[in-house]
């Protein structure tokens, strides 16, 4: 281990030598030798390499006996979460905190949290497609774009309100989900990812270039906020109202996704992910299962899109780039594929941390990337791995 670390640090010294140690002063034709930098690089890379190897070794030993034996940490918070005495008060505390949030903090914070909640819904929706059915979708944000533009355009042309647009946006997104689903039924893995990526870009480019339809890159502004039975709300009240709306939508999503994954259909999705051929041979209609997964996933994105349009009161195609899709996918993967608490935690972390780490703004993407790499190496199953609530059979059941 020491030898390997020493070699690594030597290699790093060699690599960084021209950049960090030599500085050529072209004006005075001098060469500065900055040996001190070399020492830092050497020690730094040595220590990091040691740490890296230690962590890898620890992971390997934890994995060794009995697959997925689990690190003590996991079992610790699993134990805590499974304890009813802890679980319910904890949930209640979270609930009270969430409800009281707009009264405790300025509306700026509420607005940020609303965005995070929006991403929870998006993450949970994508989780149906990626986590349960195992269909990689890289153009997920396109469905949110469908929802958002459905509301914005219906409002501009027909003066439709938020509540009318919400189901329409959801249905329209589901329709687009099926539309995307049909051509990709035969595809899997990489190919599917590329097609969905293309689909996402097509939607964005159409919105950007079809000026007559979507008002092009300038977007649509002055979209009304969600209405509350015709009551006039000032900005702060409207922010809080949207926040509560989002909480409700979030809870609904959690309930529905939870029930879906424990149902006959959820079982078919998981089986489809595990072995498509066997699943088909056991009488599951593959086409239907895939299309419902796509459509249901898209439905939540559509609803989130409508809320997004209403919350920001302005949308343009730039809000629906590939980066957004990648972000939602990161939420799902980082949190733990197929795990609802994981996705929630992932969304909160990925959305809130950048807001509160504005100090490191320049390094945000760097940190983000590094976190991703480290997560995938040391915890590929995500922060809160999916423990599928398998159907536990008891003999005494009627």
């Amino acid at each position: 281990m020491l030898k390997k670390a020493a070699l690594t640090s030597l290699w790093f010294l060699f690599l960084t030598f021209p950049l960090l140690a030599i500085r050529v002063n072209t004006i005075e034709h001098l060469v500065e030798w900055r040996w001190k930098n070399m020492i830092y690089v050497g020690i730094g890379s040595f220590v990091l390499s040691l740490l890296w190897q230690y962590l890898l070794a620890r992971q390997a030993s934890a994995r060794g006996p009995g697959e997925g034996g689990g690190s003590p940490m996991r079992s610790l918070y699993r134990r805590i979460l499974d304890d009813r005495r802890v679980r319910y008060p904890l949930l209640a505390a979270c609930g009270v905190f969430a409800l009281a949030f707009p009264f405790l903090f300025p509306s700026y914070q509420t607005s940020i949290l609303t965005t995070a909640l929006l991403y929870i819904v998006l993450g949970l929706g994508l989780n149906i497609v990626v986590g349960l059915a195992g269909l990689l979708n890289l153009g997920y944000i396109a469905f949110a774009a469908v929802g958002a533009y459905a509301y914005a355009l219906l409002n501009v042309h027909f003066g439709l309100g938020f509540w009318a647009a919400l189901p329409i946006g959801a249905l329209l997104a589901a329709l687009f989900g099926i539309l995307l689903g049909f051509p990709v039924l035969r595809l899997r893995g990489d190919y599917l990812a590329i097609v969905t990526l293309g689909f996402g870009e097509i939607i964005r480019l159409v919105l950007e270039n079809w000026n007559d339809f979507s008002f092009g890159p300038s977007g649509i502004s002055n979209i009304p906020r969600p209405g509350l039975l015709g009551v006039e709300l000032n900005l702060q009240q409207a922010t809080s109202y949207t926040y509560y709306l989002m909480i409700a939508l979030c809870l609904l999503t959690i309930l529905v996704v939870n029930r879906l994954q424990d149902s006959r259909i959820g079982r078919a999705w998981i089986a489809l992910r595990e072995d498509e051929l066997a699943c088909e041979a056991m009488g599951v209609d593959k086409t239907m299962a895939k299309l419902t997964a796509f459509a249901l996933g898209a439905t939540w994105a559509g609803m989130a899109g409508v809320v997004l349009a209403a919350k920001t009161t302005f949308i343009n195609p730039a809000s629906f780039t590939f980066l957004e899709s990648a972000m939602i996918l990161s939420i799902v993967v980082l949190g733990g594929m197929g795990s609802i608490p994981g996705v929630i935690l992932g969304a909160l972390l990925l959305m809130l941390l950048p807001e509160y780490l504005r100090v490191f703004q320049d390094y945000r993407m760097l940190l983000f990337g590094a976190t991703m790499v480290l997560m995938m190496v040391f915890r590929p199953q995500g922060m809160v791995p999916a423990i599928r609530r398998s159907y536990q059979y008891r003999r005494d059941e009627p």
Binding site: R264, I265, R267, A271, A281, M282, V284, Y393, P398
Partner: protein
């Protein structure tokens, strides 16, 4: 007497399957009578698994017809149907290489087999009304009953991948039984089993036939098993049927011996 009886449970007529220029099956015919255990044998690459895949709808055959006649049902053509439709009509299969849902529990694997015999939709799942809950309980109960029969009752809650090899094979059969087939297609059920396990498998297959009244078509390389278990044997070579008959007839058929052992012997 057999001529006037009802048409066979499975009637495959002149099945042909081309893969590009390769003719994997060349007019192979086969009948499985109700309550029979029929074996499909042949050297490696003879087209046995292709035959299975055509019957179960995985491949769309290039030519020929496949008919089924469920007990008490009408004769029906199933060639060209989709896989899940074939399963729904009462044909269930296992695979040559075990294809379980390895991260699902044993019970869930079998529960999935009930998919085509249950109906709860998205709305049912979300609302979870009494009907859905009753159906879900019924699925679990029936699945458990099947596992009990297969001797897997004490591992129901384990992930399928943790099962020993022989038990995984049995689980695959259990999963197929959950779809309520009238014809079970087993693709090399005894592959990789030791003599003891093979003997158990033999009595298991007999029991399935006798107690569940399911006809069985199996591909197998273990000749001892084929000879003692099966009522009829069909031999396939280079995509063509070269012999058919009782195990005794097949054992003494010179064409079969030639196909297996080569010209000179």
């Amino acid at each position: 007497m057999t001529v006037t009886e009802a048409s066979p449970a499975l009637d495959v007529q002149k099945l042909t399957m081309d893969f590009g220029g390769l003719r994997a099956l060349n007019g192979a015919s086969l009948q499985v009578k109700e309550g029979d255990i029929v074996a499909l044998i042949g050297p490696n690459g003879a087209g046995k698994t292709t035959f299975f895949n055509c019957i179960t709808g995985l491949y769309r055959p290039t030519g020929g017809d496949i008919f089924i006649s469920p007990p008490g049902g009408k004769k029906e053509r199933i060639s060209g149907l989709k896989v899940h439709d074939v399963t729904k009509r009462g044909l269930a299969r296992t695979f040559q290489n075990i294809r379980l849902f390895s991260n699902m529990t044993v019970l869930e694997n079998v529960m999935l087999g009930r998919h085509c015999r249950s109906s709860a939709g998205i709305l049912g799942a979300v609302l979870r009304g009494p009907k859905t809950r009753r159906e879900e309980k019924d699925i679990a109960r029936r699945s458990y009953a099947i596992l009990e029969k297969m001797g897997l009752a004490d591992v129901v809650n384990l992930p399928a991948k943790n099962l020993p090899y022989g038990a995984q094979r049995r689980l695959e059969i259990a999963r197929a039984l959950a779809t309520e087939p009238f014809l079970l297609l087993l693709d090399e059920p005894a592959a990789g089993m030791n003599p003891q396990e093979t003997r158990e498998l033999e009595s298991l297959i007999r029991r399935i036939r006798d107690e569940e009244h399911i006809s069985i078509l199996l591909i197998e390389h273990d000749m001892k098993l084929v000879m003692s278990l099966c009522d009829r044997v069909t031999v396939l070579d280079y995509g063509q049927k070269i012999a058919e008959g009782t195990p005794r007839e097949i054992r003494e058929n010179p064409v079969v011996i030639k196909a297996y052992l080569g010209e000179d012997i």
